[in-house]
Symmetry: C2
């Protein structure tokens, strides 16, 4: 008898953003005259920049000619892109990353989800709370968690690192021993950052406890303040304990094009149950060769194009546009009397919902009264209850209008 | 202490095609003057057809404009593509497939690899022997196999369904009870097919044993004979027991563009350990929403374009081109005295290696003497020993030259 992976039955909800999409669709069907402004999902709205479009079209021309057509590419990515990543995203920070430590993929969501496959089910995971749901959900599916506790709104066997206004959204080191630590900074959903000193504590913890840090740096392009690491490898020794995930989605507007990459340094080791060291770079390479067939050539050429001088100029204009939106939301919410966090080195603004509301109640309230879609903080974990996320990725016009609507609610 | 998934240590070799690529690179470095002809990996060589290039460029134009830009798409694929698939690939065969039974993905390799995630580790798998390595390797990684037996060249807990010249490459139903059956027809690597009667036996077996069939139809476009099912859903009741995988790679030259799809009918059920029915369509949808972010919009528009009248004409010309190569190889090898199989409804030709050679010895012999790359049959499983695979995907000129070289060896 064919049996299912029963870990799936432990999942409490459908994927958060699918749930929101369904609620919004229903609202729009019932209120066809209302203009809904979406500040919910972290999806970009500016078109791809001209140089990216040009690169895709040129690469497509190559694909149309027999002499320059490319079929299956290397599962780990083309060297032309891996070289640009090594130079521009790391060498400029003073970090040496080899080409074959870079794995080009079709998304950080996929990579942070799939990476668990190379690790034992017995590892104890630590996640910040609130957290990007993919880290938790993929570990539930993999059987690395116990059952759900409806009262605590937590899964057994998972170490939740609370980040709230009380601790300035800086997670404390776990008291118990953990093996896999998911860190995302600039943070999704809170929009907060860790400085070098704070991040160093985590690298030290990982070394002392033979743990691994899964560092999601998808939003590093939004960092503007000094002293905030763009890469975990800015911390000495981090290559021995950390995998870093990066994406072109928010940096270069690739949410609809799909390109990201993951760094697995050769120094990075994990262990067999008996304590024998195993090279994770090789393990992940084997995984990718067996279960992945590489990112399209045209997409990799598109990603490469952003590393030119003109490409950098074009994507920086877009990042600046979103940063100004973040500022508008911060200031607009403050003007309306809200307490807000994040939005300075990140495209996410995290606000305290008014007293008397749960996060989901505030979601409904905002949708019904101001026709604005955000994301309930509790959707990101129990410590997100009482908070709400807005994103800076809408158009300038819609962002301004949204803030006007919120101010007029008062 | 961070520990690895030790199932990876059970893997015997690196991924087959990576091993071959390394051998060929070494040979070329040592023999820079030799022109190597590659009939090894099943990668297309004709450029993408004009209508596909046009669709990509038009979709890229949309991505360049704010009004028509598309960010994250539906994880399951855009409706415009799913509708075309339902109509053209199924309705025309008299099969009703709903849009939401179709999951668009970036490759059949990924899908056949990832699908295992929704099933329990305790299921017994059956694979044909020889077999496309991904089915076996991904199950080893998932822990669904026991250890490797060096003598038998088999993994414990796996049911190997031998297909050799002795049984005309038609696998026999297993004597023991199995739960997950991987079938690929037209077959990779043997190039052989199953007729409707033979395939019906498997559907009946699956129903009687509450098993599931994972049917890889990546090569269906090469079927030319009557009575050979293009889809497993041509068999009555198959929707209750089968998942079908299809790809644009070989049908439309998408190996470098990455697009495929998987059908999970709503009738398809699996069970909890306690025997409760679970809907697999929903389970896979949850998996995709959590670990995948959809196929690029431009790629899905490209895939859609092949369903136009002009698109069909263009891709059929390419398929015809490869079919003629297959015929050339069949006839060329026969002329050189080889016993050959496949190559009639498939792009693969399976030949018996000369007496006294192992498959890998013949690989080296052919590379060194004729400078031709093929794939050793033993790389696909122990019953592939003594066989060798050539593919029809090279250029016409190279295929003709390769056959001349082989004939001149005699």
């Amino acid at each position: 008898m064919i049996t299912i992976n029963e870990n799936y039955l432990k999942l409490q909800d459908s994927y958060l953003f699918s749930t929101i999409a369904k609620k919004v669709t229903k609202f729009q069907e019932e209120n066809p005259d209302k203009k809904v402004i979406k500040l919910g999902i972290g999806d970009v709205t500016l078109p791809i920049v001209p140089i990216v479009g040009k690169a895709i079209k040129e690469a497509t021309e190559e694909m149309l000619k027999k002499e320059t057509f490319r079929g299956y590419g290397p599962e780990q990515g083309y060297d032309f892109l891996r070289e640009k990543i090594a130079i521009n995203d790391y060498q400029k920070l003073g970090i040496t990353i080899q080409k074959d430590e870079i794995f080009v993929s079709d998304g950080t969501k996929c990579d942070t989800g799939n990476i668990g496959e190379i690790f034992s089910k017995d590892n104890i995971i630590a996640i910040t709370d609130p957290v990007y749901p993919v880290y938790l959900d993929t570990n539930i599916m993999a059987g690395r968690t116990g059952d759900y506790h409806p009262n605590k709104k937590q899964y057994e066997k998972v170490v939740y690192l609370e980040t709230t206004a009380e601790n300035n959204f800086i997670p404390e080191l776990p008291k118990e021993k953990v093996d896999m630590i998911y860190l995302c900074f600039p943070n999704n959903p809170t929009g907060t950052v860790l400085n070098k000193l704070e991040l160093t504590k985590w690298v030290t913890y990982a070394k002392q406890n033979k743990a691994i840090i899964l560092f999601d740096g998808a939003y590093e392009a939004f960092i503007e303040e000094e002293g905030i690491p763009h890469s975990i490898y800015e911390i000495e020794g981090a290559k021995e304990v950390a995998i870093e995930f990066r994406s072109f989605s928010k940096t270069a507007g690739f949410t609809g094009l799909r390109c990201a990459y993951t760094i697995i340094p050769k120094e990075l080791k994990a262990y067999t149950q008996k304590g024998k060291e195993v090279n994770l770079n090789q393990l992940w390479s084997r995984r990718q060769c067996t279960k992945f067939n590489g990112v399209p050539y045209i997409t990799q050429r598109a990603a490469q194009s952003i590393y030119t001088k003109e490409g950098q100029k074009q994507i920086q204009e877009n990042i600046q546009y979103y940063k100004e939106n973040a500022k508008r939301i911060r200031q607009g919410l403050q003007k309306a009397g809200y307490t807000v966090f994040g939005g300075k080195n990140a495209p996410y603004i995290w606000l305290k919902v008014p007293n008397g509301y749960t996060s989901w109640e505030f979601f409904d309230y905002l949708l019904e009264t101001a026709n604005i879609v955000g994301t309930p903080g509790s959707g990101f974990g129990p410590s997100g209850e009482g908070y709400f996320r807005l994103t800076a990725f809408a158009s300038k016009e819609n962002t301004i209008e949204a803030m006007e609507r919120i101010q007029n609610l008062k």
